[in-house]
Symmetry: none
Subunit: 474 residues, 2 copies
């Protein structure tokens, strides 16, 4: 970023240098703009050049610039205003909001996809899902085709409540279950509902899952990052007052892989009881623990203080947009109209299909098979790292579809990630998930969900040519 | 849990019954203990039997009991202390599980369902939709199962843009098309996006479709009702300044049935051009005009000022929650991150199914058949009213799935609606759709979409016993 691109129109200098080989132009532009906002080089309220102007200056397509602006708006860095174009957001941003490709272009699949958070898409149970969906359509009453129940179809709520109680220890009544379009919509509804009830501040795990902060910001909430360690969220760093809710991943902290320690679970619930705050439990991969049976959810311990949120995004596929939340009665009552005004309720046929899938036992069987596959994939990753002598150490509880890997040779994770990407291996630096800029860059986050075991070994062998300084051709 | 297991050692009763077939013993023991702690049956601090003792009492292995104790300790229900065994955690627990919300009143489908806005649910094209959906699932790439494109799947956007251009005269580019969960989500996204761009006031047709005002209010917008007459929205009552958007149903005003007159279309677009306001065109039943080819949409005349919103709620079924919007480029760019933060994008498989349905020509054929059915149903309604000499006059353009019926005998529409409901006939008084309390109560709004033609005659014959003062038994 030594050079500056100049723009006509609003007189500002954008810290964008000439293209660097090996890195997509779009990614360069995005990260340069993020960095400029983060560091204050582009001030809040500062107007950006029109997309056509910037495109001309940089010699890129206007579409690329529009995509970058869209992306950074999704992340909360920029806002668009009528008649006055795109400006730097004046929201209180966390110094380094992360967030990946919002509209991730579908066409740039890496050769070795080791990005975290993606299940084995090729193992989607086509046959089972078709059978369940067809049965659901065949059995649907005419009234099932009318406008949906905003809470979700009563049949799925009943089946799902029983499932969640049995498998995750959720204290779930069908009357307090709300179907939603994945965790994203769950948090969107919670954020707007809590804000309308007077909430101002939500604490977040740092590092944590992407996109959470912008959803909260958009609802007018302030975000408070709270660090995590090998026992999960540092609950004693939660302020005694002034926090209305805390978002946590107790079963398997993303991305560090920590399981919230028993004593901290107690402390967290006691804190919530004292302060009156709501605990939002994101159980994004609670079904996938490999070393022992998963720890039951927090919500079962304190159903009047905890909102449990789960989804089929990891168990089946993110494209289904099937999620669910169980809330304390009073909050649930307030969530219903928010959901109703947001989309009138979730699509019915997929809900009925999921009910069929669970009742037939196929959901459980599919999850068991997936758990075995992920356990094997993680072992393959560990073995490949050992075999090829790559200076990475897998940390965290063996669970889910990704792991944090700390670097033993002191390379900065951004550097390793960029060099891996240049040879076709995609994983993420932890900095993508860190909310505070001065956080220690612990390592890289490697997914093993959406890559075949033999490909894991290929990818790690290739990675060794970088990390071990051997410049072999792949 | 009728029986209690007794234990030696600490004298407590554990609410654990005999093994139930079909469920693992361990899961039973765990859930019984969780429930006992939750309900207070096992009090905080209460000491549990030693694992060996409980194992003996229950006739299970000691290892199983140790595993259960470990599990529940990890979940925070129990705590283990050296030298003093396992105890119930002393965390302040909720007195009991939260009471469920008040149960929903059971489905009360009326005997004769003549509510407006509902298509013929029994004519949902099960076979065609299953074929299209199955083809979509079969053809889906793995990447189609990942997190969706927030704008909608590129294939559907392409197919739908061509369809909307051909059938409704929409100036639709795939790059300005956004898939959404029906009109409700479309308006939700627009409201939040416009508000973030600085909008304050949105004008609405009065009377108009329900639920619109609360969606706008929730986003922090003020609502300005504007009256309609037999030529649609009274556009000359729109203030020259201070209105940021107007929501209108130009093809078939809901519920009066007026088509926006050509001169008013021009005036409306000129007003929008002068004032800088956005026109939101709700084309909720644009496919269903009976007397002539439908008027093309407004948006095609001024794609830089009009947002076109349509859905499959009337053409297929509301339960699918499939809707779409075409917006001016700059607004579209701002809508994308709003959609992304709201639900990450719409479910993919139904989008691909709709693309298949349209491409196969089945969507057009289904709509043609539905149009014939609705034309016949409206004629049946008119004939029944004449035959039974009911003092109602159908007004408005023959189109869609409902009609306004003015009353010739001066009965207040609320009164007629209530009396009809008492004998099993459901339709709506116009007062349900009026935003201003002192508006003239024009009549009742009668749907003919979700009722069989022979039933229409039955219902109107029965209605005659009310309106004509004859107390015949039905």
């Amino acid at each position: 970023m030594a050079e500056m691109g100049t723009t006509s129109g609003p007189e500002i200098l954008l810290p964008i240098g000439p293209p660097r080989p090996g890195r997509p132009r779009r990614a360069q532009l995005e990260s340069a703009l993020r960095e400029a906002v983060r560091t204050g080089r582009l001030a809040a309220g500062q107007r950006l050049p029109a997309s056509r102007v910037l495109a001309g200056d940089l010699g890129v397509s206007r579409r690329l610039v529009v995509e970058v602006y869209t992306q950074l708006s999704a992340e909360g860095y920029l806002v668009g205003r009528p008649g006055s174009g795109t400006r730097v957001s004046d929201l209180p941003l966390p110094p380094a909001t992360s967030a990946p490709a919002a509209p991730r272009s579908p066409d740039r699949s890496p050769r070795w996809d080791m990005r975290p958070g993606i299940p084995t898409l090729s193992a989607f149970p086509h046959h089972l899902w078709r059978r369940a969906w067809t049965a659901a359509l065949g059995a649907a009453a005419d009234s099932d085709l009318a406008y949906p129940d905003p809470a979700g179809h009563p049949r799925l709520r009943q089946v799902l409540a029983a499932y969640l109680g049995r498998v995750r220890g959720v204290d779930a009544h069908p009357e307090r279950l709300l179907l939603c379009a994945g965790f994203t919509q769950g948090l969107h509804l919670l954020a707007h509902t809590l804000r309308a009830r007077g909430a101002r501040t939500v604490a977040l795990e740092d590092p944590g899952l992407p996109h959470r902060a912008p959803i909260l910001h958009q609802a007018g909430l302030t975000v408070l990052p709270v660090p995590v360690d090998h026992d999960g969220l540092l609950v004693d760093q939660l302020p005694e007052q002034g926090v209305d809710a805390v978002l946590t991943t107790p079963a398997h902290q993303f991305p560090t892989g920590a399981v919230l320690a028993p004593a901290r679970r107690e402390t967290l619930l006691a804190w919530a009881g004292r302060s009156g705050a709501i605990v939002i439990e994101d159980d994004y991969d609670g079904e996938f623990r490999f070393d022992r049976r998963a720890v039951g959810c927090l919500q079962g311990r304190a159903p009047d203080r905890v909102v449990y949120v789960g989804s089929a995004s990891k168990t089946l596929a993110p494209a289904l947009r099937l999620g669910w939340m169980v809330s304390p009665a009073e909050l649930h009552t307030d969530l219903l109209p928010t959901k109703f005004l947001a989309d009138h309720g979730s699509p019915t046929l997929d809900q009925l299909a999921l009910a069929h899938l669970i009742e037939a036992g196929d959901y459980d069987r599919h999850i068991r098979a997936a758990r075995t596959r992920y356990r094997t994939a993680r072992q393959a990753l560990q073995q490949a790292i050992t075999r090829h002598d790559v200076p990475l150490r897998l940390v965290g509880t063996p669970a889910g579809v990704q792991t944090l890997a700390t670097q033993l040779d002191g390379t900065h994770p951004d550097q390793l990630t960029a060099r891996a990407q240049a040879i076709g291996i995609a994983f993420d630096s932890i900095t993508r998930f860190q909310l505070t800029p001065d956080a220690v860059p612990l390592g890289v986050v490697i997914g093993y969900g959406n890559i075949a075991p033999h490909a894991i070994d290929e990818a790690i062998a290739l990675l060794a040519t970088i990390t071990n300084g051997q410049r072999e051709s792949p």
